[in-house]
């Protein structure tokens, strides 16, 4: 009698374990699939928002920059990109240097890409697919259709998905990753200055300019 009870308990235990394992595999697959769906619709929404801002000719330059700054803060995972791009030197940087790097990095991104706003001429973005790279990372493929007869450009978006929220961590244009290019540059600057993180901060500060990211990139509009 006692043995039979133990056997029943054993079978029950094994069955529970088996069903748990069997259920977890599809659950993981479902999570992956839903991450991809979420990331794809995130990129679709983001591109619609971005194009609305670019195409709205009634916006002043300052208003447009303000809107992009908001998008950058909510839809781009700046802290994560900052850590990625600082790479191995994140560990050696002091807490103060890390904070300054994060804030400089955002200003620097804005000042670099604000100048490109004037280039917009009706391009459209079509999301063409997506695949998971890791539990939280999805690569969304898209195609930017040009208006001047030039061939379309393949743009991939690395989207970090966490708690049902997607954020951009990388943009890959024709196979060239922005995050990887930045990381190799930052690494090179610090390494060529004897591993001193402050050398990078100095150079970034100079590039952003004394007035901050919103007003520096005025000269490079148009040709």
């Amino acid at each position: 009698m006692h043995d039979r009870q133990r056997l029943a308990a054993g079978i029950g235990y094994v069955t529970a374990l088996l069903s748990l394992v069997l259920c977890m595999a599809p659950a993981k697959a479902r999570a992956d699939a839903s991450n991809v769906t979420l990331a794809q619709s995130f990129v679709e929404n983001l591109s619609v928002q971005g194009i609305d801002v670019l195409a709205d000719k009634s916006l002043t330059r300052e208003a447009r920059i303000a809107k992009f700054r908001t998008m950058l803060q909510t839809d781009v995972d700046i802290p994560r990109i900052a850590r990625f791009t600082l790479g191995r030197y994140w560990r050696t940087a002091s807490a103060q240097q890390r904070e300054e790097f994060k804030s400089l990095f955002q200003d620097w991104l804005l000042s670099n890409y604000v100048a490109r706003f004037a280039d917009y001429s009706g391009q459209t973005i079509t999301v063409t697919g997506g695949q998971t790279e890791s539990d939280s990372l999805v690569m969304v493929r898209s195609r930017v259709n040009q208006t001047n007869g030039a061939p379309p450009v393949d743009v991939d978006w690395r989207i970090w998905v966490q708690d049902g929220q997607g954020r951009v961590v990388d943009v890959v244009v024709e196979g060239v990753s922005m995050a990887i290019t930045l990381r190799s540059q930052f690494d090179s600057v610090i390494q060529n200055n004897g591993g001193d993180v402050s050398a990078l901060l100095t150079r970034m500060r100079a590039a952003v300019g004394p007035t901050g990211g919103s007003t520096t990139a005025t000269s490079a509009d148009g040709a």
Partner: protein
């Protein structure tokens, strides 16, 4: 920086670089992250490469870029497109031969069809009916073929006048030259050299803004070009397909940080 003797200085630096052949400092053996970064950069001749790069950029600034700008200002777009079309039609055998060597029959046939259409209906490439018919324009070269065959790129090398040419592409370059029909059709030095110069000027005229943009937005122009060149070549070798998740310079776990994501599964 702005004096005319800059090119001479560049040449002197280049020659001194070649003889001294400075090497990047190797990392200390007990720091695995440093070694990983050193291997990822794969640029043991960085000091010399930087000198040659500076020389190339000086040459570009005072010669190639102004000539390319003049060319673009002097000739209207349709004429420049005809120049590109004729060059592409001449160069088509390079793409066809390399597509075959890569075992890519589809690209070989497509490129043959494109060249055949443009050579005939397009009057030798002056016009581009192939694009109107929706035939894509592929570019394959022997450096890419070696990559498809599994040959590694090798350490980064910048050559005078030619720019980034790591060993795999340095080998590919002469192979493409002899696959180019103009090498066999035109005798002597000047005709092939002239075609090469026109090709370079036309190519440069199409990249004026994008190269300016890279220079303007980079904190280390040399390192930016090195990274862009490598990523671009890797994308060309895999023919535009999305990068496999792990490459020598990237792993998806690079975006995972334990102190941001709790005790996650990341490194």
């Amino acid at each position: 920086m702005r004096s005319g003797s800059r090119a001479v200085l560049g040449l002197v630096l280049l020659l001194s670089g070649l003889t001294v052949s400075g090497c990047a400092t190797k990392p200390t053996a007990n720091n695995p992250q440093e070694i990983a970064a050193y291997n990822a950069a794969n640029d043991p001749w960085e000091p010399m490469n930087r000198k040659v790069f500076a020389f190339d950029m000086t040459l570009d600034r005072y010669v190639f870029k102004p000539v390319a700008k003049g060319y673009r200002a002097a000739l209207p777009q349709p004429v420049r497109d005809s120049v590109r079309g004729v060059l592409d039609t001449w160069h088509a055998p390079i793409t066809i031969v390399n597509a075959i060597l890569q075992g890519n029959a589809n690209r070989a046939f497509t490129s043959f069809g494109r060249a055949a259409v443009n050579a005939t209906l397009g009057f030798g490439g002056l016009f581009d009916p192939a694009t109107d018919m929706g035939i894509p324009n592929y570019q394959e070269d022997f450096g890419q073929t070696l990559g498809v065959w599994g040959v590694q790129e090798g350490p980064y090398v910048v050559l005078p006048f030619l720019g980034p040419k790591p060993p795999r592409d340095a080998i590919g370059f002469p192979a493409d030259t002899v696959t180019d029909p103009s090498f066999w059709v035109f005798n002597g030095f000047w005709a092939p050299a002239g075609i090469t110069v026109v090709d370079m000027v036309d190519e440069r005229s199409r990249n004026i803004e994008s190269l300016d943009e890279i220079q303007r937005t980079s904190l280390d122009f040399y390192a930016a070009v090195r990274s862009l060149y490598r990523q671009h070549r890797a994308a060309e070798i895999r023919n535009g397909a999305t990068a496999s998740t792990a490459t020598p310079s990237y792993s998806p776990s690079d975006f995972q940080f334990d102190d941001m994501d709790g005790s996650g599964s990341g490194s």
